[in-house]
Amino acid sequence: MTDIASGPAAPGSQAGPRPEAIKAIPVRHPWRWVSGALVLAFAGDIVYTFATAPDLRWDQVWKWLSGRLILEGIVITLELTVLAMLIGIVLGIVLAVMRLSPSPVMSWVSWLYIWFFRGTPVLVQIFFWFNLNTVLPHIGIGIPGTPLHWQESTNLLISAFTAATLGLGLNEAAYMAEIVRAGIISVEQGQTEAAQALGMNRLQLMRRIVLPQAMRVIIPPTGNETISMLKTTSLASIAAVPELFTRSEQIANFTFLVIELAIVASIWYLAMTTVLTIGQYYVERYFARGAQRELPPTPFQRFRRMLFTFHAPPPPVPDVSVSFPPGRR
């Protein structure tokens, strides 16, 4: 009876000595190296062809890259992106909540809006707002039969910039509404019930309980929409809004450096979308709090892990004790 307890693996006794860590030779992946080399060779060829193209004026590309006209265009591109996304997100949330409202009037208005704005090209919508003055020289609102009346010339009210912002923003709202709706639906029914049982009304439970949780589902596609919007702002050139693409086209028109300016614009668009992509990670991390025990990796952590996985399965990440969760307020 007394002897048994001295055995090395007696149940209930302390864990035995830790065996030596496994050191195995990782599986080789020769095809990863071959395919990698092929891709590199192909990419190098493309770069070389462009870099040495005799008629391509690289000095002009570098010169215009930081030209004042281009930089001014970038500011307008960013303004358009921010304003259009703001309209899109705010109106999108309103439309999504309306769509899910118990009131059939609300739900139908929202449905009609989405049907119309998703069903017509955004280019046409910008064009429409820009040329509205040709059919409606004045826009006004008022209550018939009362002196309450206000009107303004359409030209003053809707500048080219406003036309582009409206066209892009109102169109975006239709897409955002669907994204937000998917997010709201993804939140468990029990959450709504718990909030209702506490006496919260529909608006309170949407704003405080459902939408914050829906964010996790809403943010990734919204990031994509923002990146997409940044490029779609180039459609504002139809209204001659001097954003990045309009500017680069105008410059190309008097310098005849068509491809060069297209490259300039592309470099800037790429730079801006890259910054947005990185920003998206951090916003996603913020809204993931409470949803996972561990936060998703930062781009840097992902990159590091990717380097490792190129030739072998990832080693166990040494530092998993990410401080969790970030304190609020």
Binding site: A194, Q196, R289
Partner: protein, 255 residues
């Protein structure tokens, strides 16, 4: 508080489409009483609880809480639906605890507790926080104030959920199988909290399969099957000496 029963149901009927889930429920729960409900799955226990705080509308009969009809107002012989604002107000006086806790995952334990008092009762933040801390202490979770639900065990989550309901100072507490989703070793800590709540004089309606709790804490035990109350009485009598065949066969399966 009026002198009459806290909950009074008279011939309560409820259907979902063509499925009649409640087919005439009559019962009374007096203030400071604990009523336990048992019954097979699908017998309508959850539905009845949800009717009490108007998460479901009843189709026929009368259901009142603290002397006032749930969801309606009677003037003469006509019933008027209550506007949303008043339904919310009524719900805020009734606490509900769910099988799956339904804590708000994006808020800490403390934030879960102060949300409704601040938004619904318009309590000041400092009052709400002070009361919330006292409640967390009372359910034995003073050290988990800033934990998020995912960082808590099931038993701890359910205790936070009870505290969250209590934060509204309810006059009635509804429990829908509060321990059914818990690992066996965590059931006790939740039942302890509920037992103390009963001792402090809270009126409670508890759907549960914990017969020990029902026998010890319950003032009445109701056995439901097929949308009707088959048998009701003192827990000890019903459990030890069921009068109905259906009760007997149900109890023989769960005991």
């Amino acid at each position: 508080m009026s002198a009459g029963p806290m909950v009074k149901a008279e011939a309560v009927h409820k259907s979902f489409g063509r499925l009649e889930v409640l087919r005439g429920i009559d019962l009374e729960v007096n203030p400071k009483e604990v009523m336990c409900m048992i019954g097979p799955s699908g017998s309508g226990k959850s539905t009845f609880l949800r009717c009490i705080n108007h998460l479901e509308k009843i189709d026929a009969g009368r259901l009142s809480v603290d002397g006032e009809l749930v969801g309606y107002r009677q003037r003469g012989d006509k019933l008027y639906e209550l506007p949303d604002r008043e339904v919310c107000q009524k719900r805020s006086e009734i606490g509900m605890v769910f099988q799956h806790f339904n804590l708000f995952p994006h808020m800490t334990a403390l934030e879960n507790l102060i949300e409704a008092p601040i938004r619904v009762k318009k309590a000041s933040r400092s009052t709400a926080v002070a009361y919330a801390r006292a409640l967390l202490d009372r359910v034995g979770l003073a050290d988990k104030t800033n934990a998020y639900p995912k960082q808590l065990s099931g038993g701890q989550q359910q205790r936070v959920a009870i505290a969250r309901a209590l934060a509204m100072d309810p006059k009635l507490m509804l429990f829908d199988e509060p321990t059914s989703a818990l690992d066996p070793e965590l059931v006790g800590e939740v039942l302890d909290v509920m037992r103390r709540l009963a001792q402090d004089g809270m009126t409670m309606v508890v759907v549960t399969h914990e017969m020990g709790f029902a026998r010890e804490v319950g003032d009445t035990l109701v056995f439901m099957d097929g949308g009707v109350i088959v048998e009701a009485g003192k827990p000890r009598d019903v459990l030890a000496n069921p009068q109905q065949e259906r009760t007997r066969s149900f109890l023989s399966k769960v005991l």
